[in-house]
Every structure is written in C-alpha cells, then in structure tokens.
C-alpha cells in the first residue's frame, strides 16, 4: 500500500508539472498575438482572413506588401489569417456577431453570406470608394457585370479572381474521331455519342461535389431561356418545376443515363475528375478557368497543354440565350469591414485596385477581375487564350445556384449525382430545389 501511494504521488506530481508548464506556454502564446480590438476602432494592422485552401490571393497580397504596396504596408502592416473553408461561414458569423471582422476577408462560401453582412451595414462600399479615388475603371466590365448580378447591382466586394467557365476538350481525341467543335447542344450530344462509341468516356465530372453537374443544368437554362431565366426563379416570377426548366434537367440526366459521365459518378471527386481528363480518359470536362493551374502543371497534365481546347457552353437551337454569354464567377471575392476602414486600409484598397491584377497574373497565373496593365512576364498560351476570351466578353451569366439561398444550393448539389445516375427523376430534382426556394 505504501509503495503504491508513493508511486501515485510521483505520477501525480509529474502530471501536475507538465500541466503547469503547458498552462504557462499556452498563456504565453496567448499574449504573443495582439488581442482583437474590441471597440472595432482603428488598428495598425491590415488584417486579411483567407480561406486556408486558397493560397494565390494571400501570396499575391504578400508580394504586394513588399513591392507596389509597401507604402500602404508601412501604415498598416499586412497580417494574414486562415480559416478552413469547411468552417469559414461559421467563423464569419461568429466574428461578425462580435464586430470582430478583419479589415479584409474572403466573403464566405455562398454570396448570401456577404449579402447578410452587407445588410447589417458593416461593409465598405468598395465601388463608391474606388469612384471617389478616380479608380472607376479598375474593375473590368465583365467582372463588374458578374459582381452586380450576384450582389443586387452593388459593388461591395473585390473580384480578386475572375473565372469563366466552359467545356475544355481534348483536341487529339476530337481529331481522332472526326469531331468538330460543337456549336449547339445537339452537336455536343452527337460528339459525345461518337466518343462513347469509340470507347472514350465523353465527360469527366466531379459528382462528389455536385456543382460541376448542376452547372450544366444552369447553362442549359441560360441558353434556352435567356440570361434572366434564373433571376426570374429567384424573384418568384418562374418556377423550376415549369416544363421549360425541367427540360434542362432532363437533358443532362439523359447524358447520364447513356453512361456519358462514366461509372459511379457520385464517388468521383474533383481531383479524380481533373485527372480523368488530364490522363486522356475523358474527352470533355466542364470547369472554370481556375483549373488552368492544374493544366499548366506538367506532372499532372499527361495530354499536353497544346491538346486542350476551350469552348463556351454551346447554344440551344431556338433558345433565347447565346453562346457568347460566358458563364462566369468571381471565385470567392473579398469584402472589407467598415470598423477597420482607416487610412491604412484605404491606401491598401487603392493599391490593390491598381496592382492586384498584374501581380496575380504574373506570379500565380490567376486571372482576376482587375484591369491588367504592365509587364506580366510569360503567360502560358492556354491562359492567354482565356484572358483574351475574357477581354472580348462584355456580358456574362451566372451559375445555376448563384441566386439561390444556401439551402436550395445544397439540395441542388447533393442531388446532382443522383440526377445523372437515375437515382432521382428530373422532375423530382427540380421540385426538391423549388421546395427549398418556396420556404424562404
């Protein structure tokens, strides 16, 4: 009994010491950082809250802080913080509730988040600020159009990324099978038929995330019913259960029924889908221009950049939309907090407007919604093609869920794979989403 007691005491005291040490250390690391300013008053930092998963924006900002924006950085030092995407909306909600938003922050997983924050009146009116500074033209027209259609005609976010979306195709597979670049949906289906009978999977698609499939539905709707088709749904002027809308879902489901997306599409994740296209196993791939990062990586790209072509989503015969209206998005745009909009932040905003586009394209190969002037070095040819395409585009359309509340988006994306594997009928798919829209 005695020995046991002594041993216990020993163990306890060791544990106690360890605990005390750990407490001290955690207390230290606590005081090491600066505590958030509770009043929300001016701070000496220009803090930026980023998606952990996005590295290009923070790298560009860091590069600017020692380069073009070093003056602004002297006033307010750039401080980058990260939050994983999975918990980002939650983090924004918690921080906004405590008026603890950073100077600059990624605006969340869905446009609705930024709209909510804006409606509580804590966002800087970026558009007005830029106008006052004489930087009206800093945001290119196509990007401005996208931002305005996303955010009820206002500009309170910075398009630090600008992506156009369309169908990337394997030129070699097209040539081998005698396929011309399709101009209409029917041509596209015919091209897919040819590829399939030649033993090539026509489309590669990420069914795990779902959105690459619903993008097809959305594009079809824009092409057949015109550019206002989905804002009509959001405004309640039309319903997704209307025959013309259901047709879009049926057309995409029909591709799936023929096996054109390959086996078990619901289990294919993004990385696998990209790999299927880049290893030449699939002939076509609907994706946004951010995927250029993967295309330009020679270890991932086995078919070669010169073998990849880009086409806008084709027109629908007799439809109201045109193939010139590229689907576009601004990635996750950045917003700025009013509480921390001091002189430093002001200088940063102007500097970002002037230089972000060039820096980002030069260092990261990422196309932004800012005007690019100045030397950008060697841009890979495929990236250049896309950049040219953007410059000649004035009118863009959004994606399927862009104007939907988050619940409807989730319903749409989680059921996308079932739509193309036949697990759910096109009618049910659309009415499920419509039910969520009606709930609002």
């Amino acid at each position: 009994m005695l020995t046991r007691t002594r041993k216990r005491t020993q163990v306890t005291s060791v544990l106690g010491l360890v605990t005390a040490g750990a407490f001290l250390l955690s207390a230290c690391s606590g005081s090491g950082g600066d505590s958030p300013s509770e009043t929300g008053g001016p701070s000496k930092d220009f803090s930026y809250l980023s998606f952990s998963e996005n590295t290009s924006i923070k790298d560009t900002l860091t590069a600017l802080s020692t380069g073009e924006c070093s003056d602004a950085n002297a006033v307010a030092k750039l401080k980058v913080d990260n939050q994983p995407q999975a918990s980002f909306d939650q983090a924004l909600q918690l921080r906004a509730g405590q008026t603890d938003l950073t100077s600059l922050f990624a605006s969340g997983n869905s446009p609705q988040v930024a709209k909510d924050i804006e409606s509580s009146g804590v966002l800087v009116d970026v558009g007005a600020e830029l106008k006052a500074a004489g930087l009206d033209d800093a945001i290119i027209p196509a990007a401005k159009s996208t931002v305005e259609s996303l955010y009820d005609g206002k500009v309170y976010v910075l398009p630090t990324e600008f992506n156009v979306e369309g169908i990337w195709y394997n030129k070699k597979l097209f040539a081998d099978n005698g396929i011309e670049v399709p101009g209409t949906w029917d041509d596209l289906v015919a091209a897919a038929d040819k590829l399939y009978s030649a033993g090539v999977q026509p489309f590669s698609a990420d069914g795990t995330d779902g959105w690459p499939i619903t993008r097809l539905v959305g594009n079809y709707i824009y092409r057949s019913l015109g550019a206002d088709a989905l804002s009509d749904v959001a405004d309640g002027k039309a319903k997704l259960t209307d025959t013309a809308y259901v047709e879009a879902a049926s057309k995409v489901a029909a591709l799936g029924a023929k096996g054109y997306f390959g086996e078990a599409v619901g289990s294919i994740d993004y990385t696998t889908a990209v790999n299927q296209f880049l290893s030449g196993k699939a002939g076509m791939f609907y994706m946004g221009s951010w995927v250029l990062g993967n295309f330009n990586d020679p270890t991932a790209n086995q078919i070669g950049n010169e073998n990849i072509g880009f086409m806008p989503f084709p027109a629908v015969t007799g439809g109201k939309g045109s193939a010139d209206e590229l689907a576009a998005n601004v990635g996750v745009p950045l917003a700025m907090s009013k509480f921390r909009y001091d002189d430093g932040a002001k200088q940063w905003l102007q500097c970002i407007a002037k230089n972000f586009g060039t820096q980002s394209l030069k260092d990261q190969g990422v196309i932004t919604g800012f005007k690019v002037d100045g030397d950008v070095g060697d841009v890979p040819p495929l990236t250049q093609t896309v950049q040219d395409k953007i410059n000649e585009t004035t009118k863009t359309v959004l994606w399927f869920e862009a104007l939907f509340p988050p619940k409807a988006s989730t319903t749409s994306q989680t059921n996308a794979a079932s739509l193309v594997t036949g697990g759910i009928s096109p009618e049910d798919f659309m009415s499920k989403i419509q039910a969520d829209l009606d709930q609002e």
Partner: protein
Amino acid sequence: MTLAPAPVTSQPFVPAGTEPRLRVPRKRRIRSVGVGIISAILIVVVVFPLVWLVLGSLKTQSEFLNNPAFALPENWLNFDNYTRAITEGNLGTYAKNSILAVVPALFLTIALGVAAGFALEVMVWKGRGTVLLIFLAGIMVPGQMILLPLFTIYFKLGLTGSLWPLVITYTAIGLPLTVFMMATYFRAVPREVFEAATLDGASMLRSFFTVGVPLVRNAVFTVALVQFFFIWNDLLIALTFTNREDLRTIQVGLLSFQGQFGQVEYGPTMAAICLNVFGTLLIYLFLNQRMMTGLSAGSVKG
C-alpha cells in the same frame, strides 16, 4: 513531454488472478491453435489500414490517382510528402498546440471527474441522484449547440487568440462521461471498504486520496485513454475556437492539403496522417502500459 519515460515498475510482474482458470487439459493444444488463428485474423483486420497509409504516404499524386489502392509505391525512398507535411503542413507547431491543449484538459477532466464521481457515488447526501443525472444529460446534448454562446463568452473574456478556449472546452466536454464512468466504477467498490477507513478515523477527504483513488486506478487510465482520443481527434471545437494559424491543432492541420474547389493532395495528407498516427500510437502504448501495470497489481480485486 507526455512521452516522459514510463515510471519503471518496481514490483515484479504479478499476473492478475494468479490462480489459473479451470480448464480441460486435453483441449489445450486445439485451443492455442484457435487462439492463434483468431488473433491473426483480428490483427490483419485492424492493421491493414496502417499498411495502406504508409504505402499512400510514399506515393506521388499521379501514382495515387492512377494505380490501385494497395499498389506498392514506385519509389520507396520518396519522402517528399513527409518533407512537405512537416514544412508546408506546419506539423510541428500543430502538434505542439495539440499537446498544449489536450494534456492540461485531460488532466483536469480526470482530476475533477474522479473527485466528482467519488462525491456522487460514495458520499451519501440528498440530491446526489439529481446531480448525477444533470451530468448525464451532458452526454445527450449535441456539441454543436454550445459553440455560438461559448464563442461569445470567450470573446467577451478576451480569451480568443489563445489556447485557453480549447483547454476549457475540452475539460468541460470530457466531464459528463468521466463523472458518469467514475461513478459506475466506484459503485463496484464495496461500501465496507470506505466504512472501514472511516472507522480508523480517517476523514473522507483523506480516504478519497488513500483508498478511493488507488482503488479505481485502472479505471482512471481506461477513462483517460478514452478521453485522450476523443479530444485529440476533435475537429469541430478546434476549428471553431482557433482563430489564428499558429493556434491550429493537428487535426485542423490535416486539412492543409485541400484546395478551394475540392482538390486534395493525397500524398502529403497521408504523410501528415501517418506522422500523427504514429505519434498518438506512442502515447497510446505508454498509457496502455500504465493500464497493464494497474491491472497486474490487481488493485480492484484487492
């Protein structure tokens, strides 16, 4: 620092229940073959993922995507993934944070939980049943619920920006189960043991330390083991309360190699998981060793 060398057992190895259980000798050999087979199957079933993990951590992205899941890596000496996991994945800092948050929380949970379990099960007073039920209710509430209020509280107290929110939350979250289990274990101890101690004139506080705690020592290590893995593997709380990069825990760090559009860099992710798993295995083996010592001392059966 938790890996401080295990205290060397001073007493010789005494098997539990020294008298062998009754068995029939002629069945002995058949039995040992059976035991071997069962053990082998079990080991294969639980260990194969380890093989998969190690294989995966040595593969490049294209090998991972294009070759079968259990294919051997093309280059056995490809440690790039490990280098990236440690440098880009900041594994060192994250591991330090995890230890700094988990160890104090674990110690507190166990210390407070054992004391509360004793007070609720051994001590006799009115209302103890109700208090035990209140603790029990804690394992029924979904953890997601306490996040928003807690965030507000920690913010008002100025605790955000440190590891304190994690330590405090982990301690509290672990309490219901610890209290509940400790009460269960104390229930198994015959009352007379404590009554005898009090007859000797010891105060209850004293008999808690000299009689109560040693009696449930195995249980303490079992509960500690269970709690350790719960809080070590926690993602939800760590994601919510770590608002700065340098406060991230190791589980949050495992998300480092995922991209904004759903890309995953499998190699470095698996390497990071490997390092994490082998680290925790060491801790587990240490705690397990302690459990064994406790059991062989046969303290519960006394």
